[in-house]
């Protein structure tokens, strides 16, 4: 497999292969957290950081430890444990040294362990056989793409709450799903600009 330029991969992960809008990952927190712009932003920032770090970390763990030992089947468990341990560590560090940051971002950290986008990024990394730098670029790009989507949706939803009168039953998750569909349709316009699988 010819190596893809990490920078290309980074932009592809944000736009053409947006992890939320084309791969449907991280939808649960996306739907529950996108009510307010502020919390959407906090969650997004936490996801960018954790996704970039854990994808790179899992890349090392998978190709340097699991593959040589022939333990690939255990990678799901190992990845989950790596992600959970990493989140726990970050949470403790931030709480100890940056209390102000902890109060604005810290509450989102425990939720990230069960965010399927984080786990999904690591799985895609294995399937597409990225090397370390590529994994870092892919993780960061996917995180930024996810953040972009959730901030965009939360801004639309805030506006919608103020101005629109929705029909019965459409408010809440239903309209969010439909708006997300429209956003995904808009992002389809980017496809074909960069081709990464």
């Amino acid at each position: 497999m010819d190596a893809i330029n990490p920078l290309t991969l980074f932009f592809a992960a944000i736009f053409t292969n947006n992890i939320l809008l084309t791969n449907f990952l991280g939808l649960c927190p996306f739907l529950s957290m996108s009510g307010q712009k502020k919390s959407a932003f906090g969650m997004g920032a936490a996801v960018v950081f954790v996704m970039a770090s854990t994808t790179a970390l899992n890349n090392l763990v998978h190709f340097k430890v699991l593959v040589p030992l022939g333990l690939e089947h255990f990678r799901y468990i190992v990845f989950i444990v790596v992600i959970a341990a990493f989140v726990q560590m970050v949470e403790m560090t931030v709480e100890r040294f940056f209390p102000a940051l902890y109060f604005s971002l810290g509450i989102f950290l425990p939720l990230i362990t069960v965010n399927c986008a984080i786990f999904g990024a690591s799985l895609f990394m294995v399937i597409r056989e990225y090397d370390f730098v590529q994994s870092l670029a892919y993780g960061a790009g996917s995180g930024i793409g996810w953040m972009l989507a959730i901030v965009a949706i939360s801004a639309i939803r805030e506006k919608l709450q103020k101005t629109a009168k929705l029909p019965r039953g459409l408010e809440g998750p239903a309209i969010t799903l439909i708006i997300t569909g429209l956003l995904a349709l808009a992002f389809l316009a980017f496809s074909g600009m960069i081709r990464v699988q």
């Binding site: 449907f24 649960c28 255990f74 468990i77 989950i80 959970a84 069960v114 999904g120 039953g169 569909g181």
Partner: protein, 205 residues
Amino acid sequence: MPNLPPKKEIFLTGLWKDNPVLRQILGICSTLAVTNLMVNTLVMDLGLIFTVCMSSLTVSLLRKVTPLRIRMMVQTLIIASYVIIVDILIKAYLPDISEALGPYVALIITNCIIMGRCEAFARHNPPGASFIDGLGMSLGYSLVLIAIAFIREPLGFGTLLGFRVMPQGFVHWTVMIMAPGAFFTLGIMVWILKYFRPQTGEEKG
């Protein structure tokens, strides 16, 4: 919970009244990703039913010996073990479908439904009831997935389970097999359901 509702009621709650996808909006990542083909959907459903039932049962059996502080980790590891079994089975017997499903089989681990059931039900209920609860919930999930695939495959590919169902001249709605179609289908289904049962809108949330 001292007085447990009868098993039939537990089952029906999961299947319809508290349907995980349509009512609680849980576990929709995989709902949307695999429903462009009916075959993929069915395989995914079987995998999920097995995982939910077995992990609910296991969590419930271990509920008295699991320390409270690390219960999330224990639950995740139980779920992950069952998913690995499913993944290996699918890889061995249905390699093509395993290829098509890609990472989504493994993503059953982070599917919120399973964790949600372990946390909300299996953790403080006996194994039998937990198993039934898992069965109801996962069947409810499967029904919704099948319904979505039933809309998306004929419109997107003109086929159902690989057989042609639409007339020859039918122009395929390519958007239905791509991401936006999935969002629209589920959004509209949730809307219709909420429209007809508005009084349940203010339940626990």
